[in-house]
């Protein structure tokens, strides 16, 4: 048995039956990482010393007892580097655990490793990492998506049983789609953001990458809940997210938003998603067409709000308490301007400048305030649609993974890669991407992702709907040859 290929649920079974020890589960991953990560580049580092100590005393009776889980480099884990893949945090060592890490530990899991990403989660291809490129396991010449590209690639390449990422405009769902794994963005406020390096605070949400929908539910069971350290986390009761798995789809209504089936989608993506919709009909769900009329404004709203919030959040990088500090400064302004210029990469600078501009005197009303108002209209579109349906179905990304380097010099074109994922963050709803087939590009199989969007705090139903499709199709069983 190739241990490293197991899902979380299957590994859990092996651990509990005594067939495998937590140390063996960890060793299998380490061997796999040694064998393939030089090709994938998913890990920035993976110090297994602490993880092995934890594996030795793991309590496998706990919900995730003895399960190693890899972590995006934007979430603080005590004693580990946490750089957000930025030079400005090179050498930084976390002095505390993020709430999600405390929760994983409480559930018996073993957080380990630092996963590559776009610098400060700004990007859709992981090419904005200041440290290294990450390859798509299905085709090493292509991007894994982003910003959580490392989180998606290591799960797809069986270098992790599961991982954590963060999603501000699609940064969990889009790389999950492009790498052929399952990525869940919980409802805004469902999972604590304490200990997550902030990009855009009204949009950021942490979530799991897994090989199966069931695993996604198992991880959300551990992650969800109100946290006094995050005042935007909500005390809506935490559900049992595996509760509805396996239930049939009789009486479930799924909306097909007509604005998400447009010109410009890769024909092979369109075909795969439409086939998935047919499959849902055959599973007993009712498909209805719905309209989200403000969809075409989502990208514009997002790049105003996200950059505005980022410009404020990244003001904390002042070269005093932590992070890069320039040498031989002339005065305090020179200190700030040079420390930040030397530490931040190009895309981060571009977004800080854009965000500063849309908040600056004379432009605030025209850009930021107007974007916040259009955001309200986008939220209302979803509220109206959810009066009629239980979930929405659409492609996660309009295209399959593109070639490394293809978009690096065209930021606007890169931003449009997130066209189908951004609205869920603006509306604060939950969403999931799962495999729904493959496109054939020049003889290479590339995964296509299906996106389901759910009502706020109805992750259990969203996972039920995703699970029914997954279990009736073979896509999640296919693995790339690395």
């Amino acid at each position: 048995m190739d241990l490293h290929t197991l899902s979380v649920a299957a590994l859990q079974q092996q651990l509990r039956s005594g067939a495998v020890s937590p140390v063996e589960a960890l060793d299998a991953l380490e061997a796999r990482i040694s064998a393939v990560d030089s090709k994938i580049g998913g890990y920035l580092s993976h110090n297994m010393t602490h993880a092995r100590e934890e594996a030795l005393r793991a309590d496998i009776s706990k919900p995730l007892g003895g399960i190693p889980i890899a972590i995006k480099d934007v979430i603080n884990v005590t004693g580990e580097p946490c750089t957000a893949a930025s030079k400005i945090l090179q050498g930084y060592t976390a002095t505390y655990d993020a709430t999600v890490i405390q929760k994983l530990r409480a559930a018996g899991a073993i957080p380990f490793g630092r996963l590559n990403m776009d610098e400060f989660a700004m990007g859709s291809s992981t090419e904005n990492s200041a440290y290294q490129r990450t390859a798509n396991p299905w085709d090493l010449s292509r991007i894994p998506g982003g910003s959580s590209g490392g989180s998606a690639a290591v799960v797809a390449a069986d270098e992790a049983y599961a991982s954590l990422g963060s999603d501000t405009g699609g940064s969990i769902r889009q790389p999950a789609a492009l790498c052929g794994c399952v990525g869940l963005k919980p409802t805004y406020g469902r999972v604590s953001r304490f200990g997550l390096i902030a990009f855009a605070s009204s949009l950021d949400q942490i979530g799991p990458f897994t090989k199966t929908v069931e695993d996604s539910a198992l991880l959300l069971n551990a992650l969800a809940g109100r946290d006094p350290m995050d005042s935007t986390s909500i005390d809506t009761p935490v559900d049992n997210y595996t509760r509805l798995l396996g239930q049939d789809l009789k009486g479930i209504r799924i909306g097909m938003p007509k604005e998400y089936f447009i010109e410009g989608i890769d024909p092979q993506v369109d075909t795969a998603v439409r086939a998935a919709i047919k499959q849902y009909e055959s599973l007993g769900a009712e498909i209805v067409e719905v309209s989200l009329p403000h969809t075409e404004y989502a990208v514009a709203v997002y790049y105003i709000i996200a950059t505005a919030e980022a410009s404020a959040n990244l003001a904390r990088f002042d070269g005093v308490r932590y992070g890069h500090r320039a040498d031989n400064v002339q005065n305090i302004v020179d200190h700030y301007m040079r420390s930040r210029a030397e530490g931040f990469g190009e895309e981060v600078k571009r977004r800080i400048i854009l965000g500063t501009y849309v908040l600056s005197s004379g432009y605030y009303d025209a850009y930021y305030l107007r974007a916040q108002k259009v955001r309200t209209l986008i939220r209302q579109d979803f509220s109206r649609a959810f009066e009629k349906v239980d979930a929405l179905i659409c492609p996660t990304s309009p295209e399959v993974a593109f070639k490394l380097g293809d978009r690096s010099d065209d930021p606007l074109k890169m931003y449009l890669a997130d066209i189908f994922t951004i609205a869920a963050n603006l509306a604060g709803i939950c969403g999931i991407s799962l495999p729904c087939g493959f496109a054939n590009v020049d003889g290479t199989k590339l995964p296509v992702g299906l996106q389901l969007l759910g009502k706020p705090f109805e992750e259990a139903k969203l996972l039920q709907i995703a699970h029914a499709y997954e279990q009736s199709t073979p896509w999640h069983l296919e693995r790339p040859v690395v």
Partner: protein, 94 residues
């Protein structure tokens, strides 16, 4: 809305040095992005309330009680410069 952005001035507001080459590149790219977001002008937003965030919570309070948190050593662990258990800053007042 105006798509005219003064990149040098805005970078200064953000306390961010940029080179001549970066300024020229960002000027073109950000003008293009601002041109794209012009489409928001089409939307009728009269009478629409702005959304700052989607949580149904406002003004969360707690008791102002001391709790165990970082030791001075932990707080200073990542400081680029420190002395006598304090952060060293660049002189602010001339």
């Amino acid at each position: 809305m105006s798509a005219e952005i003064d990149v040098r001035y805005t970078a200064q507001l953000a306390r961010l040095n940029i080179s001549e080459a970066e300024a020229a590149k960002f000027q073109a790219q950000l003008s293009q992005i601002l041109g794209y977001v012009e489409k928001l002008k089409e939307v009728d937003v009269s009478g629409v309330e702005p959304t700052a965030h989607t949580s149904a919570v406002h003004n969360v309070f707690r008791q102002d009680e001391p709790r165990d948190w970082f030791t001075p050593e932990q707080a200073l662990a990542n400081a680029p410069r420190q002395a006598n258990q304090l952060f060293v800053v660049t002189k602010v007042i001339e």
